[in-house]
Amino acid sequence: MDWVTVMLYAVLVLLGWLNIYASVYDETIGQSIFDFSLSPGRQLLFMAAGVVIIIAILIIDMRFYDTFAYIIYGAILFLLILVPIIGKEVGGNKAWLGIGSFGVQPSEFAKFATALAVAKFVGTIGFRMDNLRNQLMLFVMIGVPMILILLQKDTGTALVFTSFLIVFYREGMSPFLIIVGIACAIIFVLALLVENNIYLYAVIGVVWAVLVFFSRKKKFKRIALLTVGALLVIGLLQSVDYVVDNVLKPHQQNRVKALINPDADPLGYGWNVTQSKIAIGSGGFWGKGFLKGTQTKFDFVPEQSTDFIFCTIGEEHGWLGSLITIGLWVVLMMRIIFIAERQKNRFTRVFAYSTLAIMLFHFSVNIGMTVGLFPVIGIPLPFFSYGGSSLWGFTIMLFILLKLDAHRGQVLQRI
C-alpha cells in the first residue's frame, strides 16, 4: 500500500470538509459541522461511506478490475443511457439517478469506468498504439460516454474525457494530434481575446515569413506546406466568431464572454467570475481566517461549496492557503506519475495515467475558472467539492490504483 498517497488523500478530503463548513457557516446561526441537514454534515456521511467503499475495493481481488473492466464500463454506459430517460433533474441538469431522496450522478463514475476500459484495451497483449484502428477504437471508447454525458447537457464533465489524450500521448500516440488540438484551443482563445484580427494576421504573416526564410531544404514543398498552414489558421480565426455566435448555446457564449471581459455584465454572465475573483482576491496573503470570509459565506459566490470551493480557500486562507492546497495537489499528481512509472504491467500504468489525467483536468479547469483563467465550466475540485458522487468516483479511482499498485509484484509473477 502506498501510504504517501493515502495520507495525501486523507488530508485533501479533510481540508475539503472544513472548507465546505466554512462556505456555509453563518455566525448568526453558528451551525454545527456535524449537522446532517447541512452540506458539511452530509459530506461527513459521504466520507464515511467512502471509507466503506475503500475497504471494499481493498478486499476485492485485484484481478477483478482487469477482468471485469469492460463489464463495469458497459454497466456505467447503460446507466448513462438511463439517465435522460428516468433521471431526475437537479439544478437544471438531468444528470441524476435517484432512489428515493438519494441520488447519484453516473457521469462521475463514468470516469474511472472509462479509465478501466481504456487500460484494459491498451493493456491487451499485442496492442500497438500506431495502429490506426486501435486509435479509432480508443476515441470511440472515450467518445461514447462523452456523447451520453453531453446529452445530459453536462458539457463540463463531457470535456473531462478529452484528458485521455494525455494517456494516449504517454502510451505512444503521436503528439501531432494533441499539439494541433492545443494550438486550435490557443487560436480560439486568441481570436476571442484580440478584438482586431488584423494583429493576428500580422503575427501569422511574420511567423510564416521567418519560417520560409530559414527553410533551406525542400524549399518549394516547405513553402507550400507553410502557406497552407497559415491559410488554415486564418480560416480557423475567421470561423471562431461564427462558432461563438452560431454554434455555442447562449449560456455557453456568455461563459466565454465572461472569461474575456467579466466587467461587461457583472450582474449577468460575469457574476460568477467577478464574485469568485473578488472572494479570492480579498483574501490577501494571509487570508481572513477560518470562518471569517464574508464573500463565500454570505453567498456572493455562487456554488461556493461545490464548483467554487476554491474561493473559500482563497478568501479565508489567502495566498498561503492557496499555495499549500496547490502544493498538496502537485505532490499527489507527481506521486501518481511516480506510481504509474513503477508499474511493470501496462494495464495498471494506463489506469494510473488515466487517474492522473482526469485529476489534472479537474484541477486545472476548476481552479482556472475560479481565478478567471478558464471559462466557467461546472466541474468539481476532486476531494474538496461538496458532493457524494464526485467524492466516491475519485475515491474509487484512486483506491483501485492503490490496490493495483500494492499487488504490482504479484502481477509480475503472473506474467
Binding site: T28, R170, A279, G281, T294, Q295, V330, Y353, L373
Partner: protein
C-alpha cells in the same frame, strides 16, 4: 518505450500550478482592489443623518425647523416579482416616471446592484403614511428617514437661504470628503454660511449582509461605528415682527431695508424685495420651483441688501462732511455760496454753513468741499495734486466700511466701489484726469457704489459717533450666547468722534425741518436721517434712498432703505424708514396715512 514523455507530463503539472500561483499572487497580494470590492459587497455603510440645527429670531421665535421626509432606496439585486403597475399606484407615479426613475438609478455614480441606492427622494409624511404598509410587497425597497427644512413664515428668505442636494461642483470641491452624492447642504444665506454648525456630524454604522441584503450583524462588533451629533441651533439677530413688517411694506417694490442695532451691529431686519416663499425651495418640488424662481425676471433670489450695488446719492454728503472736517479743509461754520451754475441744486437756500448744507442737501457746497479735499495745493501739478487728495479721501471713506465687503455672515457680499487713482487711470485709459473730471463723487453720484448693507452700517456708524460693529445676522451659535468672534470687534473710522455731532445735528434737522420733515419725523422720538435721490437712467424714475437712526441719543436702531425707481428719497424711502423705526421702538405705527401711502406705492407725481 516513450518513457521520456513522463517528463513532459510532469512539466505540464508544474507549469499549470505555477501559472495558478502567479495569477493568485497577482489578484491576492499585488492587486488590492478585490478587498475593497469585497467590502462593498458585504459591508453596508448606513449613514445616521443628524438633525440639522434650528434657527430662531432674536426673541426666541422659531424661524426654521425640520420636518420628516422619506427617501425610497433600493437594492437592485433584491428586486423580486416586481409589479410595476401596483408600484405606480402606491407611489402615485406614472409609468414614464417609474421608467425614468429606474434609468436614473442605473446612471448614478454610487449605483451598485448589491448596495442601497436612492431611488425616489423626498416623500412627504402623508406619502409615507400611505406607502408604509405596502412597502413589504415590494421586495428590495427600503425607506430612509431624513428631514427637510420648513419655515414658520415666508419672511427673511434671502437671509436664511435654502438647503438642497449637494451639486457635482460642490462635491468636487469637498476636499475633506465629508459629503456624498445625495447629501443635503446649505446652498445660500445662513444655511450656507453656518453649514458646519448647522449640519452636525453624521454617524456611520457598518453592517454586514449577505447577497440577499439580509442583516448579518455589525461589522467588527461596531468598533468603527460612530454616533451622529445633532447640528447646533442658531439664534439670529432678526426681529421677526420687524422683519415681517418690513416685507409687508416692501411688497410690490424692488429694493432693500436693512436695520441695525448700532450698539452691537446686530441686524434687526434684512429685507430684500421682491422675495420668495422659502417653503418652495424645501422638499420634493425643489427643482421645479427653483427653476421658476431663478428664472423670474424680478430676481427674487437676488439678495439686494448685499449684492445690489448702487450709487449712494446724497446720503454720501454726510461722509464727505466728516472727511472734510477731519482733513481740516472746512469747519462746521464754513459757508459756501450755492452757485447752481457749477452743479444743479434744489430747494430755497443760498449760503449755508455745513449743517445747513446737509439739511438742504446743497450740491454746490459739497462740490466745493471735495475740491478743497482733493486739491490741497501740495504740488503745482493739478493732476498730481488731485491724485494725492483722492488717495487721502479714499482712505477715510473706506474706514466707514465702504469699498470692501463688510464681512457679514452671509455668502456673496459685494464690495461696492470707492474710486482711487488707479481706478481712474484705468477708467481714463491712461489719459490724465483731475478734479473737474471726477467731481460727481462729491454728491454720491459718479463712480461711487455701495450696497444697502453698507448704507445701514454707515447710519449705525454716525449713530455711534464714529465706530461700528460688523453687521451680522447670528447672535448666538448653539448655547454659547455669542456670535462668531469677529463680530465682537469695534471698528473705528479715521474721523474723530467729536466731528460726528455736526452730522447728528444736521440729520436731526433733515427730519425736523429739511428734506425729510413731512414723512420721517415722529412725535415723541428724535429721528436723525438723510434723504438721497439717486439718478437713474431715464425714463426710469430715480432711486429713493433714506438712512436714519433713532433716538438721537443712545440710538437703538439705524436703518437704510433703498427703493428702486421710486423717485425722491423723501417719499418712499423716508416713509418706510420711519415706519420701521416706529414699529421697532413703539411697537406699531400711529401714522396710518404714511403706511397706506407706502402700501399704495404711488411715489411719483
Amino acid at each position: 518505450m516513450n518513457e521520456g514523455r513522463k517528463d513532459i507530463i510532469q512539466v505540464l503539472v508544474i507549469l499549470v500550478s505555477l501559472v495558478f500561483l502567479i495569477k493568485l499572487f497577482a489578484i491576492q497580494v499585488l492587486d488590492n482592489k478585490y478587498g475593497k470590492l469585497a467590502d462593498s459587497n458585504a459591508i453596508l455603510r448606513q449613514v445616521d443623518y443628524p438633525v440639522r440645527g434650528l434657527i430662531y429670531d432674536r426673541n426666541g421665535k422659531l424661524l426654521v425647523y425640520n420636518s420628516p421626509e422619506y427617501d425610497v432606496q433600493v437594492v437592485a439585486k433584491e428586486i423580486k416579482n416586481f409589479d410595476s403597475a401596483e408600484f405606480c399606484k402606491v407611489f402615485r407615479l406614472t409609468p414614464e416616471e417609474l421608467r425614468k426613475a429606474f434609468k436614473e438609478l442605473k446612471q448614478k455614480k454610487e449605483y451598485s446592484p448589491v448596495k442601497l441606492t436612492t431611488f425616489l427622494t423626498q416623500l412627504s409624511n402623508d406619502d409615507f403614511a400611505r406607502v408604509q404598509d405596502r412597502l413589504d410587497d415590494f421586495h428590495g425597497f427600503y425607506v430612509q428617514a431624513r428631514s427637510s427644512r420648513s419655515y414658520t413664515t415666508s419672511a427673511f428668505a434671502n437671509g436664511l437661504g435654502y438647503v438642497s442636494e449637494i451639486s457635482k461642483n460642490q462635491l468636487a470641491k469637498d476636499s475633506t470628503q465629508t459629503y456624498k452624492q445625495g447629501d443635503y447642504i446649505g446652498q445660500s444665506g445662513i444655511e450656507a454660511y453656518y453649514e458646519k454648525y448647522l449640519s452636525g456630524k453624521r454617524g456611520v454604522r457598518y453592517k454586514m449582509r449577505d447577497v440577499d441584503g439580509i442583516d448579518k450583524g455589525s461589522f467588527k462588533d461596531g468598533e468603527l461605528d460612530t454616533l451622529s451629533v445633532p447640528g447646533q441651533n442658531l439664534t439670529t439677530t432678526i426681529d421677526l415682527d420687524l422683519q415681517l413688517y418690513g416685507e409687508f411694506l416692501m411688497q410690490g417694490k424692488s429694493g432693500s431695508i436693512v436695520a441695525i442695532e448700532p450698539s452691537s451691529g446686530e441686524i434687526l431686519s434684512f429685507v430684500s424685495g421682491p422675495s420668495y416663499d422659502p417653503n418652495l425651495l424645501a422638499g420634493k418640488y425643489y427643482s421645479q420651483n427653483f427653476k421658476a424662481i431663478s428664472s423670474d425676471t424680478a430676481k427674487p433670489l437676488f439678495n439686494r441688501p448685499l449684492m445690489a450695488q448702487y450709487r449712494p446719492g446724497s446720503i454720501f454728503k454726510i461722509a464727505q462732511a466728516m472727511v472734510a472736517l477731519q482733513e481740516g479743509v472746512i469747519t462746521p461754520d464754513t459757508r459756501v455760496y450755492c452757485n447752481r451754475t457749477i452743479i444743479n441744486c434744489h430747494g430755497a437756500h443760498s449760503n449755508e454753513d455745513l449743517r445747513g448744507a446737509i439739511t438742504h442737501s446743497c450740491n454746490p457746497y459739497f462740490h466745493n468741499v471735495l475740491r478743497r479735499m482733493l486739491n490741497k495745493g501740495k504740488t503745482n501739478d493739478p493732476f498730481e495734486d488731485t491724485r494725492i487728495g483722492l488717495e487721502e479721501w479714499n482712505t477715510h471713506i473706506r474706514s466707514f466700511g465702504f469699498g470692501a465687503p463688510l464681512g457679514i455672515d452671509l455668502p456673496n457680499e459685494k464690495s461696492g466701489l470707492v474710486p482711487n487713482g488707479k481706478f481712474y487711470d484705468r477708467a481714463y485709459g491712461g489719459r490724465p484726469w483731475k478734479f473737474s473730471n471726477i467731481y460727481s463723487i462729491a454728491i454720491g453720484e459718479g463712480e461711487n457704489l455701495v450696497v444697502p448693507l453698507q448704507m445701514a452700517n454707515f447710519a449705525a456708524t454716525v449713530a455711534n459717533r464714529g465706530f461700528f460693529y460688523t453687521p451680522h445676522l447670528v447672535k448666538s451659535i448653539g448655547d454659547s450666547g455669542t456670535p462668531l468672534p469677529q463680530y465682537l470687534d469695534k471698528h473705528y473710522t479715521t474721523i474723530d468722534s467729536s466731528y460726528f455731532i455736526v452730522a447728528v445735528d444736521a440729520m436731526q434737522n433733515v427730519v425736523q425741518g429739511g428734506t425729510g420733515q413731512y414723512r420721517a419725523s415722529l412725535k415723541d422720538i428724535i429721528v436723525c436721517g438723510k434723504t438721497g435721490t439717486v439718478e437713474n437712467n431715464p425714463p426710469l424714475a430715480d432711486h429713493s434712498v433714506f438712512i436714519a437712526f433713532a433716538p438721537r441719543d443712545n440710538p437703538k436702531i439705524a436703518v437704510a432703505v433703498y427703493v428702486e425707481d421710486a423717485g425722491q428719497g423723501a417719499r418712499a424711502a423716508a416713509s418706510i424708514a420711519s415706519l420701521m423705526i416706529e414699529k421697532y421702538l413703539l411697537g406699531g405705527t400711529q401714522r396710518k396715512h404714511i403706511e397706506d401711502y407706502v402700501l399704495r406705492g404711488e411715489f411719483l407725481d
